[in-house]
Point group: C2
Chain length 500, copies 2
């Protein structure tokens, strides 16, 4: 099979950045910082183009693209718009394959002259076979090729393909890594004057390194091609779409941002429904749905849930949240309740549904393993919402470091801080492993709620839950919202073959 | 004016806790820990009642309440239900004024016998003039009297009166402190078998130490009294109500939790509308609305907003969020746009509305002061949504510690960490002060969005914003939701005198 026309875009064998300031104390180029952070230079040559400087941050500079010592596949432009024509000429002469225009001031400025300038630049580049990303965007994040938008972005190679018409929202997408999933490729494509959403979705459909696609779109230009690409892609992998400018107010903002004519929300909803894509309301839901379809929760078939292990009034509000999303918490059967009563004290607790098997007092709200297992196997339910605590560790009767710590007098020194942190991390890890095994054995989709205030062990829990195929969420509401979204999406796919 | 009948409840001159386990390694009493943490003993005597132990955690134990050396005003019971009758007899003999039953297993258990037992206990106590909090609750948090539910709860004395039928949700309410507002008094009253929501609201109405009331309710028992107390209280101070069990699913959960018959959501909505109370959907909104009514944002008169200072695609999604809440971002006048253009480069930015005066690249998205001031004074708008960055500090041109830090090579040691943290804290503080002065001078209500990932400086910003009368929120959506809620509440108060 021939490579996709866009394939070489993601494998540049040398990169040059044009427009990095050499002046001390000025804001450094995020692109240069990103490539240095990812150690791109260990793989391929990295050049800087600067009219006077000889080196910036240890990277050698050349006066023009043509002066770079070897071939250059990909050029990143941070220069003002006025210099772009000359840069394109250099790129043509150098045999550059792709040009990323961080440079803004083209069609998104909203005037005819700027739009004409954009068309002229794209036409000149395309006539010589140069593909353009942008203008007005962050370009490429490809961790397998050690390319990032900026420093301190994940180096792990994942399986999510992302495309975003907005740079800020591309960076927001990257936060998905904190929930577990990482990206194979993420393209911030701005105005999309050459490479656009339709082409990127077409590529994503056949990219073997990507099993899930997330997209932030503003315009719906080239509607026919977008429809075809969405349909092709959504037929083979989940495609989650967040549409900016879906309200009239947002649409005006989108026009200022990327020059997109947003079209109506209803049209876009129909587009997603007909192609099988999953349309979400906001970035949080995009993250939550990406987590859900990367886990056993993607198999959820209905809205009959069990809610386990959160306390009294919190359970009441959680039940309201679940019901508001159109899901239900039906009562457990008498047989299950009888079995549960062996492990749950009656006083102040409940064996109906929600099930309160915890007791008040801090973060350690452990649940007897038998209770969790009974809930995972109770007949007549579609999924289990459970708090992330998991069963108590084997040595719970003795004083664990995390337990002893609460006995400290306030203000007293805390010699056990490190031991407690390690114990919390280990608890998070073992709970995630436990839930992974439980879901695999019981076949019941899990939605695990981790509200922990400790960021380190919470991060570990999300990572490990993802690794073990378990969907974890920071709140019950977000879990319930995404389950309802999955169910509506499944119901709306009539006529399309099932994806999972 | 005579003291309110409940007043002495909040000023116990000696406390005894019954039911603290003496065994090593067992879960310690949160109540004992809370009183020790608040140093209640420096103010008044604290006794423990234990059949055998002579002291626990340094606090002397007595075999019965009667044996305590001095008078006891308030007794906290953690013993099992079976011992409560005998305890009440001791309390009567000792002349105790109030009894807090953490003890559960009464009416919330759902059977007739347990409900009868509850009635009997309450009748016995009341016949001797003892008021009862509970059963099945956390009781009192009164920082001015050094009383808390558990260790590590705020010691600062605030002006919010809280009542919660759920202990867990009382603790959730306390998280409001992280946004600035603290509590004068917070009562977790569980089943409310004696002291109930109506009595607490009646007290809150005339409590001079409380300017704002937040309530978590499950049941709507004694409906006539509840209506009267809500109306009385909401006439003189804002009353924010979160109702658990507002859906059928949640109502069943509420019945298991506190034995409450929840009634329908529609009835409760009418109750709030007619009394002038503010009904919210969830705990997040309770916090957000408490922040809003504690700030200049409470004066917002309409939904015409300006959105300032967030980047491109983020602005688009923010505009969608704002519009979905029924608010609007009308275009700025040509005069204002002309004035703004002096400070905002055209390329990639916008002087319409939303206004994008920032540039990409990390956390430091500063906005020229003139831009913020123009937006605060532009005619024809009701409020300003703005990112929390504020104007750049005077020395921004030079390399500040926080700026230099980004240039570090990854993995390199960071000698400036402390300086950077201090710089971030100082930036947060000065931005909050700036916004406070701006709101006071311009008279335009502000909703400031602080999405910072750094918890320390974010906490400082929220605290300082609150101190300077500025409402700050973690997301645009939450800010927009609470503004819409305030406007709907204001519109629904027809016939009631304005509160602010």
């Amino acid at each position: 099979m021939a490579a996709h026309p866009l394939d070489s875009l993601f494998h540049p064998r040398a990169i040059a950045i044009v427009g990095v300031s050499a002046s001390e104390g000025a804001r450094r180029s995020a692109f240069l910082g990103g490539l240095l952070d990812q150690q791109y230079q260990e793989r391929h040559p990295l050049y800087l183009v600067h009219p006077r400087a000889s080196e910036i941050q240890g990277v050698r500079c050349y006066p023009t693209v043509l002066d770079c010592l070897g071939p250059v596949d990909h050029v990143i432009s941070s220069i003002p718009r006025v210099g772009v024509d000359a840069l394109v000429e250099q790129c043509i002469a150098k045999g550059v394959r792709s040009l990323h225009l961080f440079t803004a001031g083209f069609s998104e400025a909203g005037d005819a002259e700027s739009a004409d300038a954009e068309r002229a630049v794209i036409a000149m580049a395309r006539a010589s076979g140069i593909r353009v990303i942008g203008p007005n965007c962050l370009g490429l994040y490809v961790p397998s090729e050690r390319i990032a938008f900026a420093p301190n972005q994940p180096k792990e190679i994942g399986t999510v393909f992302g495309l975003s018409q907005s740079g800020v929202n591309a960076i927001e997408m990257l936060q998905l890594a904190e929930r577990g999933p990482r990206f194979s490729k993420l393209v911030s494509f701005g105005n999309g004057a050459d490479i656009d959403a339709a082409q990127l979705l077409d590529y994503a459909a056949e990219d073997p390194d990507s099993v899930l696609v997330v997209a932030y779109l503003e315009g719906a230009g080239r509607g026919r091609e977008l429809f075809a690409a969405l349909k092709r892609c959504a037929a083979v992998k989940p495609v989650i779409v967040l549409k900016g400018g879906i309200t009239a107010t947002g649409a005006r903002a989108a026009q200022s941002h990327t020059g997109s004519l947003a079209g109506s929300g209803a049209v876009f909803e129909a587009l997603c429904r007909q192609t099988g894509a999953m349309l979400v309301d906001d970035m949080e839901e995009l993250h939550d749905l990406a987590v859900a379809v990367s886990s056993g929760l993607r198999h959820v078939q209905g809205g009959r849930g069990i809610l386990l292990g959160t306390g009294g009034g919190f359970s009441v509000l959680s039940a309201d949240s679940i019901a508001r999303q159109g899901l239900d918490l039906p009562e457990l059967s008498e047989a299950t309740r009888t079995a549960l009563r062996e492990y749950i004290p009656v006083a102040g607790n409940s064996t109906r549904n929600p099930i309160d098997a915890t007791f008040l007092g801090g973060e350690r709200l452990e649940i007897p393993e038998q209770v969790i297992a009974l809930c995972a196997r109770a007949p007549g339910f579609d999924l289990l919402f459970t708090s992330a605590e998991g069963p108590p560790p084997p040595d719970a009767a003795g004083g664990r470091p995390e337990e002893r710590a609460e006995d400290r007098r306030p203000g007293a020194p805390d010699p056990d801080a490190e031991a407690r942190a390690m114990a919390r991390a280990e608890r998070a890890r073992s709970a995630a492993v436990y839930f992974g095994a439980l879901q695999a054995e019981s076949g019941r989709p899990l939605a695990v709620i981790r509200r922990g205030r400790d960021p380190v062990s919470t991060r570990i829990f999300f990572e490990q839950a993802y690794q073990h195929g378990v969907a974890a969420f920071p709140t019950v509401l977000r879990a319930a919202r995404v389950v309802a979204r999955l169910l509506r999406w499944r119901a709306s796919r009539e006529g399309l073959p099932p994806l999972f």
